[in-house]
Assembly symmetry: C2
Homo-oligomer: 228 residues x 2
DNA sequence: GTCTATAACGCGATAGAC
DNA sequence: GTCTATCGCGTTATAGAC
């Protein structure tokens, strides 16, 4: 086909209508997904400023300009990554509400968070970075909104357990901080842990052992017998 | 005094000798100290790439060129900050060895680390940043060296306690990770904690409560009765 | 919707006067 | 040892051909 005679996109759009529209939306979904996944890794590894759109584009397998086509600015892309992380953690939070029994609820919650720390550490790292720097992009308002989702119901539930003598009296916040800190440590400090483990990532077996240990210490620490 | 007739530094140096030399060394010490302190805060707040030498200079109260005079490159300055953090944590590690009794040793260790998290959060944040990004500046070798200092003796001691039935059998590494994670969380996630605390930093009283809770849960978690 | 080429800018680092 | 002015590079973002 001679140059200049390639069918114009507008023609095809008019000719084939809905099919092309769907295809476009589909392509958009595929690419934005790929870009976000690539961005999550690069932001985790380099920080917001340290990450370059070029590297993100390379990892996503497309030219830099296309990244800017789907996400106007680096900051908008960064926000999309953060939103994605929040979605994952929301699911962990749900695990907490699966049972009225403290042993079950806490065990499931910690298991969930440990699982995500091992399988998707980058998201946690991006979040940690954002918080360490004082939530400059997320902003305090949005941050407060997210935190309340994770904290409010749990705090109430924990107080109820204390009231009914099911667990020892501890301030719910400090217990939650300990769970968040310990579980997310396996994602955020992955590198440090692997260096201490002879430069090897924790094996599946070690991951299970770590999860058991964490559950065991925390549950016993508040007066429960752990099931694992 | 007319321009061009200001006394040359070399003259004064020859005339007054040692006094000037001392003064110079003194000035150097004062400025390098100020620069490192300023750098620690800016690196903590913005990350390595995000921090600008201009902002560090501003905080230290001198022109940007002077920062480069004392620290040839940004990376050299960053390394100096990291070394400083390690010195502080080395002291915390010593607290662990103050007693052969697990309750005392662990209580003192956690207290020390919590204290530094509250009083000097920036150092911990810089460290966290460096590890999250895979220790690109520190390098694995240096990192391994530091970690061994903090971990080796503690691991041995913990195993001894387990052997003598003083604490429940837990993998020493997972216990140490929990202590590091939980205590450093109060530094690294300071901002998140303050947002959950109604946008106010934890009060002295809350800091004490947090410390008590952390010690209580961890010690009870490994089968000890906490003293606090 | 894709991609190359480039504009516009901020930053680390330094030269060179004082 | 101090400081201003500036160089040179790397980066985000965009213009404009296809």
């Amino acid at each position: 086909m001679l140059p200049g005679f390639a069918p114009r996109l507008s023609h095809r759009f008019i000719l084939e209508g809905k099919t092309i529209t769907n295809k476009k939306a589909e392509i958009r979904e595929i690419y934005t997904g790929r870009i976000i996944a690539a961005a999550e890794e690069v932001f985790a590894l380099k920080g917001f400023k340290g990450a370059t759109t070029q590297e993100i584009a390379d990892r996503a397998g497309l030219p830099k300009a296309n990244v800017h086509y789907y996400f106007k600015t680096k900051e908008i892309l960064y926000n999309a990554v953060l939103e994605d992380v929040v979605v994952v953690w929301k699911k962990d939070a749900d695990a907490f509400d699966q049972s009225k029994d403290p042993t079950v609820a806490l065990t499931e919650y910690i298991k969930s968070k440990m699982f995500h720390s091992f399988t998707r550490p980058s998201g946690s790292k991006v979040w940690a970075n954002e918080i360490i720097h004082g939530a400059p992009v997320l902003g305090d308002e949005k941050l407060g909104k997210f935190l309340n989702i994770w904290e409010k119901r749990k705090t109430i539930q924990i107080r109820r357990w204390i009231k009914h003598g099911k667990i020892l009296p501890v301030d719910p916040h400090y217990l939650l901080f300990m769970i968040w800190a310990t579980t997310q440590h396996y994602a955020d400090f992955e590198h440090q842990i692997s260096v201490l483990n002879g430069k090897k990532a924790l094996s599946k077996d070690q991951q299970e052992q770590a999860t058991k240990n964490v559950i065991g210490i925390i549950l016993r620490g508040i007066g429960l017998e752990s099931e694992v």
